[in-house]
Amino acid sequence: MTAGTLLVYGVGSPLGRRMLQMLGSGAQIRAVAADSLAPDALRAAVRDAQVVVNAAMGAPQVILGAAERLAEAMRGGPAERPLVHVSSMSVYGEATGVCDIASPAVGTLSAYAAAHVAAEAIARSFPQTVVLRPGVEYGPGCEAWSGRIARWLEARRIGDLGAGGDGYCNLVFIDDLVRTVLATAQAPASAGRIFNVAMRDPPTWNGYLIAYGVALGAIPVRRMARRRRAIETKLLAPPLKVAELTLGRVPFIGRQLPPAIPPSFLRLCAQEIRLDVRATEEALGLAWTPIAEGLRAAAASYRSKPLRG
């Protein structure tokens, strides 16, 4: 990409934050935050940007709201304006086995997954859109899959999950996801395409949890009995979630609350879905960060700032 501006919507997400960190002061590519812009300003920013990136993540309404706001701003703008829309592997639902971009969703979609499906549809109404479907984002700043898990591991609330952790953990190191966004923006031939984004040979969830626990020094990593997992998700998760919703924003207290382990997390750990990323590698010429290196970075980042916020 030549000199220009990368307009990033969703700067509160791990990807958005990381893009601003990595590209905020870059000489050639500048990442600019778009979330707080008023509709007219957003439309103008879209018009001036070389590439628009939708990195918004979070609750279903956040995902859908971002897609709709950006679409509104892009309508009537230059038709060739590329949009990189960052979606999620959740669009495959409960699928198992190797999933390429043509694989259909399986089972009932969660509200989160359904929001991603709808957001993809909105984004793809623009011909220059590239959709990225990342797997499990980990690394510095990734609260869901690094920060939260680190706290669970340190508290010995998760670990080796036995048969419950046999699912593939389709990891993507956050910097690799940033590089993928840039690569798609730089490859005109990628317009209109969809890419899965994850490392080629992912570990199982057990492999990830054990290796991350070792990297964190949260050792020995414990085997979590089925009974213990049921206590976490059925007995502890509901009150912890209520506490998070009610006390989460209270100074000092909110940061100390232990995060709940939702049943959906354990379902994901058992889901043997493996993202097919061959087309991504071929089209974009990417190399993935080795897991040991990524975990070292994730652990170091967590050690420097172990609590949320």
């Binding site: 036995g162 048969a163 046999d166 020995p220 990593v221 414990r222």
Partner: protein
Amino acid sequence: MLLDISELPDGHELTADLVIVGAGAAGITIALDLIGSGLSVLVLESGGPEEEPATQNLYAGSVVDARLHSPPDRYRQRRYGGTTSIWGGRCTPFDPIDFAARDYAPAGGWPITRADVEPFYPRANALCEAGEFAYTSGETFGSAARPIVRGFASADFSSDRLERFSCPTNFASRYGHKLSASDNVQVVTHANLTQIVLDESGRRVTHLALGSLGGKRLTVRGSRYVLATGGLETARLLLANRDRHARGIGNDHDVVGRYYMCHLAGVIGNIRFSCAPGAIFRGYQVSPEGIYCRQRFTLEEAAQRRERIGNFVARLHHPHITDPRHRNAVLSLLYLAKPLIPYEYAVRLHGQDAGSFGKWLRHLANVVTDPFDAVGFAWHMLRDRKLAERKFPSIIINSKANLYSVDFHAEQYPNASSRVTLEDTPDALGMPRIRIDWRYLPEDVHTVRRALEILARDFAASGIGRLEYDPEQVETEMTRFGAYGGHHIGTARMGSDPRSSVVDADCRVHGLENLFVAGSAVFATSSQANPTLTVVALALRLAGHLRRIEAAQ
């Protein structure tokens, strides 16, 4: 997919590219490895998910000397998961010397080397849930490694080697969900192999006949067949099929069932250490990835060659449980809990103790006089063993008096006269039952005797204590409980020469084009190591071979 034979119609015919007989450590491993391979795989399991007396009775047979060998239906399980449903979980790889031909050891070595198995050990270790394939305390614990006895120095014994412990993992409970969800693997329970049918040339299996205790009869046709039925049953199945080969399949040279090995194990002597109790560590360290590990004294290869003896390891052991004079509340509690301890473990814990009311009272007194010790131990065993998925592997009791015994585990040499044969008595499916004539050699006694001498010498030379035992009692102690239960090895041994072996280096039965054997039956030697890890590694190697030959065609 998982289904029961009762769900299939009588006379039904099943077909598959690969038919695996037996769903234990070896059979399940091969099936797991072939998920998604494109091969259709059929796994036949005699039992169901739990032990069933009628099915287990199909393992019954006789032993020539009941003092030397446990009944054939003990220490093995005829059910989905096989003997992994009761194993202890000790994992340790074979050493390079175990594969080598040694001019002082009878019956030669293997046609393969440790290097041929090496690539499969890490995955085998993972399947056994024993963590990293790292078997020294240095590489596992670094500077946190604790020596067994501080100050012990020996050129002949290493105390850096580890044994790692599986959960212990029941392969059916742990991996059954993968087989059930697979598109290309089908597991059929309660399906017993009753006949291996060969073509007219006697060189190719055409099909298998199956029967169930419920009276179902089925036929199975495949391109290739794997017997993964354990060291005793494999010999039985090969010997029992005599339609084309009068002596049984693969037995033209009368080798099937011979060279039957277990391990030589026992507890001997007393060693009172002169060092501080804190200088002794005989317990488990937990590796970073959460695996219980334990160090042992391992006889170095150079010492084995110099002394011309077999492989040997030793561990420090607590005093004899049955003798109440130890005045240890925990040991007495274990004595009193005998009825609650499974047979397979109670045998070696309690030995041949006859028991008496007076002795029972003395043990009870030990418990009553030190109740906190006993309660603490009971809580530890409840929390860390009974309720835990990764179980604390064994009872570790440190001696306040610094007094220990030595627990040894030694290689048994292959011996053609130690063998499994058939009885005339049939089981409920008409298959002849087995007869076990386990024997050991004077050289085996020499291995244990000489290794103990060296260990005692090096304890004394290190100035840390003195191992005292009666050398004349070595043979008695190593056979006190007979052959080490559960390690059934060598009855279809691997080799290049059909006159002294049953399968080739690829585990294919000599003279048969499409019949393979997986499991400890193919071991040409027994090593000091417990067999399961190597069973799984060799099963992975065989799966790779089957995949390659299928691809080549």
